[in-house]
């Protein structure tokens, strides 16, 4: 009896050792998977390495890439059709995750990560930033592997701040003072922020959290009535109305980043990803003058950037789940996360940022340091946590436009709250 047990344990140990050393990458050899990707820097960075995976696994990967708006529609239509023709796709869990999960379209991944027969020993889930894993988990269920992790950051013109002797803002009050001081100096607007309706909601979020507000109450009612909301939107829209560029209600990140790159903005806050546009002399006239700073602290005294995560997810209807999982873990492994980081895509693994190779080639260590520091506390819920995200973003977007145009903030938010509660009623 005892001997049997000892033998059994020995066999188990040998077995697991064998697994650890010879993970079977070829267990789905001969199959083919179809992957839909967004036209995103990550896609550009990873695509050249795909043949490497095909050689390793014997799985053929068919990739289709579309610009973001078409990409999102395409994924939705494919998943809704339920044909199983789609295996993996990029997902912003905080945007579509709730809808897709509740629709039964997302394959929960926890059982894959924990299975040594399916997951290579070096995968190391703990290497991902906690914020990334939190963002990619919905209701406690992991629905994607994080591929890119950005945080809200302050981008500013070092030369102007120096010339006019203005300290880099650490609080909302200092941010407003700096915007005021630099507005209309040297042909720049004081500050740029997204003002185009729905697209602005994700960038209002860190200002909301900085004022101590949140999206929903515990019983899933809109909190847009709250004083924190009124304060946050009054502050945000006031910055744009008083010190923003003309026409800010039509601006999202492409307009803001190109204004800054053309030397027409003193500063802006948005996703850290956009560094690659600003410090590249081919796309920016101010490439050598860009300063990076942590998102300023609000009246709560805390810094409250948001963490925006892109993940790679599996369709529940996929007919090649093992092959798809092999692809997903390969695409997000340590080596590939380092590769994309070297191509200026903010990686979601600590090991990539801490690697000697990245540190040696890092042109903007201050940007890296801020990103790393902020990821420890950034809030991954940058969208209202509802199923009908698009509709609530649109409702809130209209309140933002009204506020920027000088309308009554409290009235606009009250309206938005009522409309949002109607949407929430449908979700019960």
């Amino acid at each position: 009896m005892k001997r049997k047990l000892v033998l059994g344990i020995a066999a188990l140990m040998v077995g697991s050792l064998g697994l650890a050393q010879n993970f079977n990458w070829e267990q789905a050899r001969g199959s083919q998977i179809r992957v839909l990707l967004n036209q995103h820097p990550w896609t550009t960075a990873i695509t050249p390495f795909l043949p490497e995976f095909e050689r390793l696994s014997g799985v053929k990967v068919v990739v289709e890439t579309f610009p973001e708006a078409q990409f999102r529609n395409k994924v939705l239509v494919e998943l809704a059709s339920g044909t199983g023709a789609l295996d993996a796709f990029m997902l912003t869990p905080n945007q579509e995750g709730n809808l897709y999960l509740r629709s039964g379209w997302l394959e929960p991944l926890s059982s894959y990560v924990g299975n040594p027969a399916l997951t290579a020993p070096g995968f190391d889930q703990a290497d991902f930033f906690p914020a990334s894993i939190r963002a990619a988990s919905i209701g406690g269920s992991l629905v994607g592997l994080p591929i890119q992790q950005e945080t809200t950051m302050l981008f500013y013109r070092k030369d102007l701040f120096q010339k006019y002797n203005i300290p880099v803002p650490r609080t909302f009050a200092e941010l407003e003072a700096a915007a005021k001081a630099l507005h209309n100096k040297d042909g720049v607007a004081g500050i740029g922020l997204r003002g185009r309706g729905a697209a602005a909601t994700s960038q209002l979020a860190p200002y909301l959290f900085g004022h101590g507000g949140d999206w929903l109450s515990a019983n899933r009612r809109s909190r847009f009535f709250d004083a924190e909301w009124v304060n946050a939107l009054t502050f945000y829209s006031g910055l744009l109305r008083n010190y923003g560029p003309a026409g800010s209600t039509t601006m999202s990140w492409p307009e803001i980043t190109s204004l800054f790159a053309q030397g027409k903005l003193a500063m802006f806050t948005d996703g850290s990803l956009f560094k690659s546009i600003l410090d590249d002399p081919r796309t920016s006239t101010v490439a050598d003058k860009v300063g990076y700073a942590a998102f300023p602290a609000g009246p709560t005294g805390r810094r409250t950037p948001v963490a925006i995560t892109w993940a790679l997810s599996m369709s529940k209807a996929s007919k090649n789940k093992v092959a798809t999982w092999l692809f997903m873990q390969w695409a997000t492994n340590k080596q590939n996360q380092l590769r994309v980081l070297l191509a200026d895509v903010p990686a979601s693994r600590r090991s990539a940022w801490n690697s000697a190779e990245y540190k040696a080639r890092d042109k903007t260590p201050e940007w890296s340091a801020i990103n790393l520091e902020q990821l420890e506390y950034a809030n991954p819920v940058w969208n209202p946590p509802v199923v009908a995200v698009g509709e609530v973003r649109d409702i809130l977007g209209r309140a933002i436009v009204t506020a920027i145009n000088g309308g009554n903030v409290r009235d606009a938010l009250t309206r938005a709250a009522t409309q949002t509660n109607t949407v929430l009623d449908r979700e019960r």
Partner: protein
């Protein structure tokens, strides 16, 4: 016995074809039309009676005319109808007037006539989305070329599509730029197929060019004008591409036409049933207006 039957067969076949030619010939076209147009229309009507979400995340239910009743109470619907009307009322009359002027000009002997006509068609044959993207850049208040021109002329910079009041007129400007050539070509065809005799007779009677235009050209051009009006009006009412690319219906909902609103409701809010009802309303409105215009023509 076998002989007669083999002789009769081709005859019977041809008789069958003769008798049924009326539906055999258009048959394939009708079938195609049924599959591509009628079936989706019926499906759309069925959808519009349901409170239906894009997936099983929310249960769907039959609501009869409920969506339509909601639409009548939806101020965003009324806003979109108003924006759509405003867009059409600015764009179409301008296109007709400009198109007529260009057609009259081209109808005379112009040097390098072929080249001029080809050039004038350029806006029409370009891809609408590409055009819209370029106009969006030109409208940009800081970096756009339109404000540069205004400043060079000593005028004040404009917000263009970033101004709630200017958004629809600015979008109509793009539509006018793009579709005036079509109106010009249609009217030119009308002008060139006019009989010479009435003009000759009038000239012999000593009519002035002004009289020639108002008394002969204008009345004879009416059918062509109404054709151009109907075509452009239907198109203008359901414009989608340039609006979605340039303003996405913004700022806020200041340039959101019914078509754009229905797109939002369907593809961003995932309220498929409601979007279907909005599109049915659009179909009804466009049909009513097109029929109305043609009734107006007959009574004249």
């Amino acid at each position: 016995m076998t002989q007669t039957s083999s002789q009769a067969r081709p005859e019977r076949r041809s008789r069958f074809i003769d008798k049924n030619l009326w539906w055999l010939m258009p048959g394939p076209a009708v079938l195609l039309l049924f599959v591509l147009t009628i079936l989706p229309l019926i499906f759309n009507l069925v959808l519009s009676t349901q409170d239906r979400f894009v997936s099983a995340a929310q249960p769907s239910s039959f609501v009869g005319l409920g969506n339509y009743l909601d639409i009548l109470k939806d101020e965003r619907f009324w806003n979109s109808v108003w924006q759509m009307t405003k867009f059409t009322l600015i764009a179409v009359p301008a296109q007709l007037v400009l198109g007529l002027l260009i057609a009259l000009l081209l109808n005379r002997q112009v040097p390098a006539q072929g080249l001029v006509r080809a050039l004038i068609l350029l806006p029409m044959i370009s891809t609408p989305v590409a055009i819209a993207l370029i106009w969006a850049l030109m409208f940009n208040p800081q970096l756009g070329v339109l404000n540069y021109f205004l400043e060079t002329l000593g005028l004040e910079r404009s917000l263009w599509v970033a101004d709630e009041r200017l958004a629809i007129p600015a979008l109509a400007l793009v539509d006018i730029w793009q579709w005036t050539p079509l109106v010009a070509i249609i009217l030119l065809a009308g002008l060139q197929t006019m009989p010479e005799e009435p003009f000759e007779a009038a000239r012999i009677d000593g009519a002035s060019p002004w009289q020639l235009f108002w008394r002969i050209t204008w009345p004879l051009l009416q059918p062509t004008l109404f054709a151009a009006l109907t075509l452009r009006m239907i198109d203008a009412l359901k414009t989608f591409d340039i609006i979605e690319v340039i303003t996405q219906g913004g700022p806020g909902i200041a340039s959101e036409t019914l078509n754009v609103y229905a797109f939002r409701a369907g593809f961003e809010f995932f309220r498929v049933g409601y979007a279907a009802s909005l599109l049915t309303m659009l179909l009804l409105l466009v049909t009513a207006i097109a029929v109305g215009v043609n009734l107006l023509r007959r009574t004249r």
